[in-house]
Symmetry: none
Subunit: 500 residues, 2 copies
């Protein structure tokens, strides 16, 4: 039986190679590819996708997995081998339920969706995107049907990003969050807003880049196993087990863009660089879920990067790099500015207090579209109405409203909630971290992040995809994903900042 397991591992190692290869093609496409390369790159990716599917869904793999099912029952269910078999069975089940015809149709709809969305966004005209979004929703509905029966049509989509999580779980969590976050924002809005105009002065792009590099080097980003480049949309990707790259974007008149974007992507990269080397090129050597992934990026970006101890250490350096712009701005004023709460139209520019509301809005609309209770043509009006209800403002146009995000154009539905769940998990972990490392704030104030990274490595990163997200969070914190720590964190932080 061990031999069969080794045979399976051999197949999985090759699949990992193909997945990493797709990552190389994708990274290059976003970072380096000249326009003339686009036509062929689409073909390359399509061919690779086909080959991955063909090589995974084989009679031989089906037999191996069938044979290993009973073997797995004899193993410690918490052993790496038992978990590997379980995760692979899950992947295999998903791959076999989806007909190749559907995969090809979905791939085509994604390409058309992304192209028309770009045009629609640039013209701020939803009608250009409407029929293609319609098609994508139909295809997502069809995809869900391959997994029937289900409790909710959204469950199979969510499960692709958050293994084991149900729509009802997410709704229960969000219903706790919604009222408390809305109340907090209301309380904050009655207080005077901090000044933050100095964040929008001219900042040298090169100095912004260098400052970000200094920060993430101190975080522990390993340049022997990664690199940073520029791209339109920042992202993190593994081009090999030992090659985890990040990208950032630098805006010459918005200091916060590169500053927090760089820390965010570094958080993702530290996670991917921390998987157990025993799982190299195997399915357990990957993320537990997108929420767990996002908990890492948001922790470094927000719980660390927007904290007072962090800036105790880094603000004098930032002032030195930008003495003209920040020489006369105090640490307190800077700290208040980067934590200013105010409703924005754009999700990726939202502060910590309003961010989750952007997500809830999208989740509710996604569910309504998939259930069929919201006609796609009515989506823009529904977006604007709900946006006003949650955030008190109405987007000026579709480009800064319903068309702002790329996800739906690629058929990525079930993805958005992971952003909010990541925020929750980051705060939930943080409470345990502070209990285990009571001196962490003092360490951070001295620019020392080694204990924090060490803790994350041994308590989170090392496990990779061995545990489902709810299992992992429970194993570490004693509870499943829970909104209360995040609410405690927000109330404490903003209570102090806004003297609530």
């Amino acid at each position: 039986m061990e031999e069969k397991l080794n045979q399976l591992k051999g197949k999985l190692l090759q699949l990992a190679d193909l997945n990493y290869t797709q990552a190389v093609l994708g990274w290059d496409m976003q970072v380096n590819m000249p326009p003339g390369g686009a036509e062929d790159r689409g073909e390359l990716l399509a061919t690779l996708g086909l080959i991955v599917h063909e090589r995974f869904v084989t009679d031989e793999n089906a037999r191996l997995l069938e044979d290993l099912r009973s073997y797995s029952d004899q193993l410690d269910p918490d052993s790496d081998d038992a978990r590997l078999i379980k995760v692979t069975q899950r992947m295999y089940d998903k791959a076999t339920r989806t007909p190749p015809r559907h995969i090809a149709e979905f791939a085509r709809a994604q390409v058309v969706g992304q192209t028309t969305w770009q045009e629609a966004k640039s013209k701020s005209d939803f009608s250009i995107f409407l029929p293609h979004l319609q098609r994508l929703v139909e295809l997502r509905q069809e995809y869900a049907s391959f997994f029937a029966p289900y409790d909710h049509i959204y469950d199979p989509l969510l499960d692709d990003f958050e293994p084991g999580l149900k729509t009802a779980d997410v709704q229960a969590i969000f219903s706790v969050l919604r009222s408390e976050q809305v109340a907090l924002i209301k309380a904050i809005s009655s207080r005077p807003a901090p000044k933050d105009d100095f964040l929008s002065l001219e900042y040298s792009e090169e100095s912004q880049w260098d400052f970000g590099v200094d920060v993430i080097t101190r975080f522990g980003y390993d340049w022997e196993h990664g690199r940073q480049d520029k791209s339109v949309h920042p992202f993190t990707t593994s081009l090999g087990f030992g090659d985890v790259r990040i990208t950032t974007r630098v805006n010459p008149t918005r200091l916060a863009t590169a500053l927090f974007g760089t820390m965010h992507e570094c958080g993702h990269a530290l996670y991917e660089l921390g998987y157990n080397p025993a799982h190299r090129r195997l399915p357990l050597g990957s993320a537990a879920s997108l929420a767990v992934h996002e908990s890492q990026s948001r922790m470094w970006e927000n719980l660390v990067g927007r904290s007072r101890p962090f800036w105790t250490f880094f603000y004098p350096r930032l002032q030195q790099a930008f003495s003209t712009q920040l020489g006369n701005v105090s640490l307190d004023a800077f700290y208040a500015a980067i934590n200013k709460v105010s409703p924005t139209y754009i999700r990726v520019e939202a502060d910590e207090a309003t961010y989750n509301l952007h997500i809830m809005l999208r989740l509710e609309l996604e569910i309504a579209m998939l259930e069929g209770s919201l006609a796609i043509k009515d989506l823009p009006a529904a977006w604007d109405a709900r946006f006003n209800e949650y955030l008190g403002v109405t987007p000026p146009n579709a480009a800064r409203g319903v068309l702002q995000d790329v996800h739906w154009s690629g058929g990525m539905m079930g993805y958005f909630p992971t952003y909010a769940l990541g925020n929750l998990v980051s705060a939930q972990l943080w409470e345990v971290i502070i209990r285990d490392l009571p001196n962490l704030p003092e360490q951070i104030a001295q620019g020392d992040f080694s204990a924090l990274l060490g803790w994350l490595r041994s308590n989170v990163h090392i496990y990779g995809a061995k545990y489902e997200p709810q299992e992992l969070v429970e194993k570490i914190t004693g509870n499943k994903i829970d909104p209360k720590p995040y609410l405690r964190y927000l109330n404490a932080k903003y209570g102090e900042l806004y003297k609530l």
Copy 2:
């Protein structure tokens, strides 16, 4: 039958996707990959190599090619379809003879070879590279054995780069060259050497880069379909039919390095950008051979880039960019300096008169290693001895001697002679070009390269791999590869420069 041909083309298109994918992996490895990515990248390339092989060598393809053999006989043998079938049959024969196990082993040995060679070169310590070169030579010997019987063990290796050419052909050509080139060098060495110290002053790296970009933009390099980056060893690679990238290196105290290196790679890229779009992603949409490829790079680097008309146009611009260094150097003095003949240790820095001797040395050593008459541990001593014999000097260390070139570390044996053959072909083509375009020198002196590029596109580039190198050269010039035009070119150029 046409349907079968279309089926075959469908398979070949997918293979092209995989080949381009390998190019993306390779380009990234040399330009961007952090050291930590090396281990997995080797696995990725090995897996891709295996999959390419598996998908090409199939019963279905064997049947298709068998069926198409008779169909091909009814076609005009010069038609694209007949040629495509012929070239594909040739590829198929090579692929079926090579066991997948060997392909994977070779791919892994290449990656290890390259990594250890880099270390060996940086430490100038051949012993670090020795066991890995040993392994690569053994694998190349094994590869040759798959094609037994052969006239010479080197034939199957050479044939991979120069379809149809035999070791004996190359040796015959080189034996004509050797004595005449040695005699020319001797005659030159008795004449006073031109001053060239001003080529080794401090030259801003950024200005060097910009000057090179200006030159190749005027040559006609299309930035919508390519890009230039820095790498340790400059190269050109196609990441898609419409994505042909070059790299260069810039030395702050050697003006010639980037200057001629950039033109050289641009020559390669112009070739790959000039294939017939009808052959997009098909085997005919690739190079006829490396010698033909090199004839293009050497033509732009030397016959154009080291010519007096070229500098008539560009020298005032170069003087403007580097007025401190070149303000007081006349065009004649500069022209003499960049064409100075003197033995150098480094092949890629060699002048046109000595260059081929560097190649002959390598060819003889490669043949001896493959024949087994030279033990790998004795290679450094053999290198130094023969170097002294041909060029009259002995390399100061291994880094500037036997370890200088990347080729052997990637198992590329049979490759070096193509460099010298490329020189010959460039001069052979040039005699026809000057007959067809008698005003070309005047055009070049005005910075106008459009007629030259147009001629190359319609007489060389467009054919891609439709003809074997000897066929192509004969079709254009009336003769097979012939050393005499190159010797005429050298004698005329250096006769004037050195007043022989």
